[in-house]
Point group: C2
Chain length 263, copies 2
């Protein structure tokens, strides 16, 4: 089945493009800042600048949510904050568990951006018995043995994996079996999950590699244009170039994740 896109949008509001969804948090952040400064309204131009996108894109994005602006005036900040929050599902409480409390897991546990957006760190889980009971960010670390119980008791549907690559798939399977349906994966591995489970991944080194690609390109612009791109002086003067990459952060094609056996 993998029905794919044979879905029927009961109401047309269900057709928000992925690219738009991915930008909503950006708008929300900018709006929250405006809200804290008690700015009552904002134009698409201003908000777009604050969010780092262009205004046409922003207006188009908002048009998918409905008509929340006022022509000639702009958008009501508070109202928009509410609408976007609701659309993203942030008006409800999302208990999350973080598995793998190394440096990264600890950083995530301490990250303030979660709590302020409806995410509550329900538990920290680590395989190391020595960690058990040790508080991180004020929350005692629990042993992996408790994973299933925690997920079920707390009604956790979102799990964060910050384990080493080797442990990620197994942790993922246990999370899913216990009821988790969304996973944020920091381990450098492709996770295979059943249909209906969302995976997003963040790979720190991938981002750096993309930067390196463009960096190399900038340097290459000065000399070689063909194939010989082997040497480059790091201290090259900065050349102008359009800045506009975008992508990455995908996982899970839509139907067929085979038995991957990664690192």
């Amino acid at each position: 089945m993998a029905t794919g896109r044979t879905h029927r949008p009961a109401t047309r509001s269900r057709g928000i493009p992925e690219a738009t969804v991915a930008r909503l948090p950006l708008y929300l952040r900018a709006l929250t800042a405006l809200s804290e400064r008690s700015v009552p309204t904002v134009s698409s131009e201003e908000l777009a600048a604050a969010a780092g996108v262009n205004s046409a894109k922003l207006r188009k994005d908002f048009s998918y949510l409905g008509s929340y602006g006022t022509r000639g005036v702009g958008y009501d900040v508070e109202y928009l904050v509410y609408q976007i929050s609701r659309e993203l599902g942030l008006t409800q409480d999302w208990p999350v568990v973080i598995v793998g409390i190394g440096n990264l897991g600890a950083a995530l546990a301490n990250y303030g951006g979660f709590a302020s957006r409806g995410f509550r760190v329900a538990a920290l889980i680590d395989a190391d018995p020595a960690m058990a009971g040790k508080p991180v960010a004020g929350i005692p670390v629990q042993h992996t043995d408790e994973l299933e119980k925690i997920v079920q008791d707390e009604g956790v549907s979102i799990g964060v994996i910050a384990t080493p690559a080797g442990a990620a798939q197994q942790v993922c399977e246990r999370l899913v079996a216990a009821g988790v349906t969304s996973i944020l994966n920091f381990a450098p591995t492709v996770l295979s999950v059943p249909d209906g489970v969302d995976v997003r991944k963040v790979d720190l080194s991938i981002e750096l590699q993309i930067l390196a690609f463009h960096e190399q390109r900038k340097a290459g612009e000065l000399a070689a244009a063909g194939t010989a791109a082997s040497h480059q002086e790091p201290a090259v003067s900065r050349r102008s170039a359009a800045v506009d990459q975008v992508p990455v952060a995908d996982q899970g094609p839509d139907g067929d994740v085979p038995a991957v056996m990664p690192t």
Copy 2:
């Protein structure tokens, strides 16, 4: 040809699509794993599975690099590793500095994925004098005062910002002024940079928010389709749904970033 009107995007001379560039690190990771298992050749189908994409996409991606495969056989693993590495610019050494050695900065400093791909942590920098000299991941932390000197002496062109949001823009400006032309930003702020400087960003809470959106959608499928989406039982049975988000990780040009106050 070019684009006779507005300014020309970065996708020029060499013409590898951004989406493809963003996947090259994925392929590289999968290939490296195969290489370590001494697998000599691999088909597009197998490699695609290991990288978590579909084979048509992979073949198309590789076609932009050149014809490195053999019909009826597949791709030579070692050769592909080399070609992709070269394309990404990973055959050279990239000294990077990490600014902001909190939990996250420490996690980055310890992250093994860097060194193995040509990235060398040239220095760790923090504004806290108490951190100065303290070793993290075997590297002594240096004070922000040294920033310019370090960047110049080491020929650093890639900087990683892991400071609180409030400090990010200033750090960014100092990095750029000192010669950095690529920045990986973990602070939840839009950085404004001059032309020619690349910024990629990773926002942990954004990824979670995107997951929350889809999570809410799954739950909503069961009952309400209209506006009332306030209550939901977290322990909903998993329903099948198309899993296929994608994007995010852009950072626009546009200057003018208001004084965003972090969380």
